[in-house]
């Protein structure tokens, strides 16, 4: 299961794994299920509840999920699932625009100590890897993480635009996101978050510059909760074999992912210490707000919207009652509603095909059709056609239903 929508990093990891597992004959059937939302915590909750104790399910996870668990107050944490392996990762870079007065990391940290609010940092979503790095950096240079001015952008692209346009003082993101601009000279890299210098990358690490800071945006695999003994060991072993295959090495080379392989128990230890570190820095970032201005603004806009709703609603009430209209056809609407409710209720138990056929028949009835058999046949044909197109041609998972084997 990839706890993100198709195209993202977790999904790419899952699909690359599936490709290698199948290609090397380590598994006969591999299916990628996407359950996206809330930085993976929705996928985690679904995974923990529906696959408990099963030895043939794996969830892709990563650093961002750790902080999302704290921030979203997720009911399920990574302590409950069974660690299998840490696989890959990427390091973070701290950059400034080429025109920036900051020539070195020391310049930047000096300015940060003097007035934390004056140094604006662009990065990805609030509570993501980029902000975690800033929080950890602030702690190392004895600045209150909650006082840093972090401007969250919706994706790497937006923050990159803000940097290239000199809108912000500095930026934090994964190396691959900024690399082309570091090479071309439009951005200046001040530090990279690996613990040791990376071969072929001419950027000083934080540690080389006297700051004890290392952070990898790692990705790994976990198995469902309650998996012990041989079932767990066989998964750990399968992944151990996988990372040694040439195919997997090719995937790493092609994607530029750094190999951060840590098997079973050692991944478990790492996960526990990482969890403590992330939870504490998320707390230190406090409400994860950037500046005092933001703290106020958070409810300003909802306030405006609330007042607007009240005023326009009031205007409407004041003018009510002058219009008359046809009575409508509640029976027909009832049929369509019934179809919608049945669709929602049946979708997971009976699967997409049945639920959609019922929806189709009910809607047709609502629009006055009396030809049940024809409607049922057409509904079935449409649903089945859509089902196979999606699951086979596009390999997108739709509920198959629990009634059929």
């Amino acid at each position: 299961m990839a706890p993100a929508s198709p195209g993202g990093g977790w999904d790419q990891t899952a699909r690359a794994l599936a490709e290698v597992l199948l290609g090397e004959g380590l598994a006969r059937v591999v299916e990628v299920e996407n359950v996206s939302g809330a930085a993976g915590t929705i996928g985690l909750a679904r995974f923990a509840s529906s696959y408990r104790g099963e030895g043939d399910a794996l969830l892709v996870t990563g650093l961002v999920m750790l902080s999302a668990i704290v921030m979203n107050e997720s009911p399920v944490s990574l302590a409950e699932v069974t660690p299998i392996a840490r696989l890959t990762g990427e390091y973070e870079v701290l950059v400034v625009p080429a025109a920036s007065p900051f020539r070195s990391l020391a310049d930047l940290t000096t300015a940060l100590r003097r007035d934390p609010g004056a140094v604006s940092f662009a990065g990805g979503s609030a509570g993501g890897t980029d902000q975690l790095l800033l929080g950890l950096l602030a702690r190392e240079v004895v600045v209150d993480p909650a006082s840093t001015n972090y401007i969250a952008f919706s994706g790497g692209g937006d923050s990159l635009a803000a940097l290239l346009g000199n809108q912000v003082a500095a930026g934090i993101s994964g190396l691959s996101e900024y690399a082309p601009h570091i090479e071309s000279g439009s951005l200046r890299a001040l530090a990279i978050s690996s613990s040791d210098p990376l071969p072929g990358v001419g950027i000083l690490t934080f540690r080389e510059q006297g700051i004890e800071l290392a952070l990898a945006n790692w990705r790994g695999l976990v198995a469902p909760p309650g998996l012990r003994g041989p079932a767990r060991d066989s998964l750990v072993n399968a992944i151990d074999r996988l990372v040694r295959t040439r195919k997997w090495q090719e995937v790493l080379e092609r994607t530029g992912w750094v190999d951060l392989y840590l098997p079973g128990d050692r991944f478990g230890q790492f996960l526990r210490s990482e969890q403590r570190r992330i939870a504490s820095v998320v707390r230190d970032l406090g409400s994860a707000t950037a500046t005092g201005e933001n703290e106020i603004a958070e409810m300003v806009f909802p306030g405006i919207v609330g007042v607007g709703l009240l005023v326009s609603g009031g205007l409407l009430l004041a003018r009510r009652g002058s219009e008359s209209r046809a009575p409508g056809n509640p029976r027909a609407l009832g049929f369509v509603f019934m179809g919608a409710v049945a669709n929602v209720v049946l979708l997971e138990p009976t699967g997409f095909i049945v639920a959609s056929s019922v929806l189709f028949v009910c809607t047709a009835r609502g629009f006055g059709s009396r030809r049940w058999a024809r409607d049922a046949f057409l509904g079935l044909a449409l649903s089945a056609g859509a089902y196979f197109l999606f699951t086979r041609a596009l390999s997108l998972s739709l509920p198959a239903g629990r009634l059929l084997p």
Partner: protein, 495 residues
């Protein structure tokens, strides 16, 4: 190598028979997913990524470009015929286009949309070819303050979709703004109005809102308020004229195509642009400039030609920051970027130099794809309009099935399907009581944009509100917004 020589080289690659075949596969697939509600080009390309790994990068990107443009075409078809836009960018097209279809002018609406897309797509691709790097330098001057100003300007286009009653239009707008607040506040990471439902943490997807208010809302409303049996079959009128467009249609369409392109392309180039703002701005502009403004609200052809051109021009514009800076500014662009990375390619300032063959054949394939789409779509217009002749029970049954499929496949979550029906019920109520639904969608799209950019701007300036007037571009855009609101009134008073 000059631009011209590079482009010729690009064409020689793109016109190779195998690549033409991939382009054709792409535009066909793109048109198909564009027709399906909720399944956009981003999802399609993402799902095809693993499959295409065995292809040469050039062929894969030629196909992806076809999907991207094809989806824009396909999206307009369902919006016009069935009032079921599958994504936010084709709502403006649905507004007048569907009214035209109801008057039996569906074929003319489809033709002007197809031709407008072609003209805009081609002109925008020319602009992309000639001026990509220069445009990007200008676009980078846009920071949060400028984007906030742009959102304010876009809000003025609400005035064009208000409908007959100001208070009803505003109520609808505020419903959309309110729905836009649901979810994690992106600047602080804190949840707002999510009611403890974790599936709501990411907010209400605009696709769900669009499908709910339009496709599902329309279905519920028709079941409720039209009498069964009394089928008002809209016989497509034969428009006559060249390509289904009469002489008057032509003379009203082409200026709208050009204006739409002029609005769409630059706004598409802006990082954080997207296609919604230009389509609605184009709609507002056409309504203001129309020779027969009274036709707006009853199916005015300019209202289809302009936004549809703006949509496609913006789609080409989005490729400018993607290719020159590696900046993805839309969901599809983000997936395309992932595709580049899968091949170990890094779009950015060096891509034009390191991979000229790929870049220029991609650009050439955009031209090829545009022509292909036109050739593919114009003859289909006659077939598409027959969709309207389908018995209503089957048509609307099918629409609901496809809408629920689209909603489910967004996140693989049943909560989205429930939300779809709840918003559908809301849409039916709004229709029943003569509330316009377009302002709600604008509110959902623009509200979060305006809020986030304003707060980002204030965070960068450390709380100094004057950034919105001291930065020249922001101030100019805000002034334009003020003019857009005041000028029509002033003119009216003078006339």
């Amino acid at each position: 190598m000059s631009t011209w020589e590079s482009l010729v080289m690009g064409f020689s690659v793109a016109a190779a028979p195998s690549n033409l075949l991939w382009a054709f596969a792409g535009v066909s697939l793109g048109t198909a997913v564009g027709v399906l509600p909720g399944i956009g080009p981003a999802l399609t390309v993402a799902l095809l990524l693993p499959v295409t790994l065995t292809l040469a990068p050039t062929s894969a990107f030629i196909m992806f470009a076809g999907i991207y443009y094809g989806a824009m075409y396909g999206g307009s078809t369902t919006s016009i015929l069935l009032n079921t836009p599958g994504e936010s960018a084709s709502i403006a097209t649905a507004l007048e286009g569907n009214l035209m279809a109801r008057r039996g002018r569906g074929a003319a609406a489809l033709s002007t949309a197809a031709l407008g897309s072609f003209v805009a797509g081609t002109l925008a691709t020319v602009a992309l070819t000639l001026s990509a790097p220069a445009l990007v330098r200008v676009a980078l001057h846009f920071g949060p303050a400028e984007y906030f100003a742009l959102a304010v300007l876009a809000f003025t286009s609400v005035s064009a979709v208000l409908g007959r009653s100001l208070s009803k239009g505003l109520f609808s707008l505020f419903i959309g703004l309110g729905l836009g607040l649901v979810g994690i506040d992106p600047l602080t990471g804190k949840a707002r109005f999510a009611l403890g439902v974790s599936q709501l943490l990411d907010g209400i997807d605009v696709v769900i809102l669009v499908m709910g208010l339009f496709a599902v809302g329309e279905t519920f409303y028709l079941a409720w308020c039209s009498t069964p049996g009394e089928e008002e079959v809209v016989r497509p009128k034969d428009g006559g004229g060249f390509m289904g467009l009469s002489r008057e249609d032509w003379s009203r369409s082409w200026p709208a195509w050009l204006r739409g392109t002029a609005i769409g392309f630059p706004l598409g180039v802006l990082p954080a642009g997207g296609a919604e703002i230009p389509t609605f701005l184009s709609y507002m502009m056409e309504k203001r400039l129309a020779r027969k403004p009274e036709e707006f609200g009853h199916g005015a052809i300019e209202g289809v030609a302009g936004p549809e051109a703006a949509n496609n021009a913006a789609a080409a514009g989005v490729l400018v920051p993607l290719l020159t800076l590696g900046l993805p500014t839309s969901a599809t662009a983000a997936v395309l970027l992932a595709a580049f990375q899968q091949y170990g390619l890094r779009p950015g300032p060096l891509l034009f130099e390191s991979q000229p063959e790929l870049v220029w054949s991609l650009i050439a394939s955009l031209y090829v794809g545009n022509v292909m789409l036109l050739v593919l779509n114009l003859p289909l217009v006659g077939i598409w309009v027959r969709v309207l002749l389908m018995p209503k029970p089957l048509l609307y049954g099918g629409i609901l099935v496809l809408a629920s499929l689209g909603a489910y496949s967004l996140n693989g979550s049943i909560v989205d399907v429930m939300l779809l029906y709840v918003i559908g019920a809301l849409g039916a109520l709004l229709r029943r009581f003569d509330f316009p639904v377009a302002p709600a969608v604008l509110g959902l799209i623009l509200g979060p944009l305006a809020e986030q950019q304003a707060r980002r701007a204030l965070a960068i300036s450390q709380g100094d509100w004057t950034v919105f007037v001291t930065r020249p571009i922001a101030a100019a855009v805000l002034a334009a917004a003020l003019l857009a609101l005041l000028l029509p009134r002033w003119f009216r008073r003078r006339v």
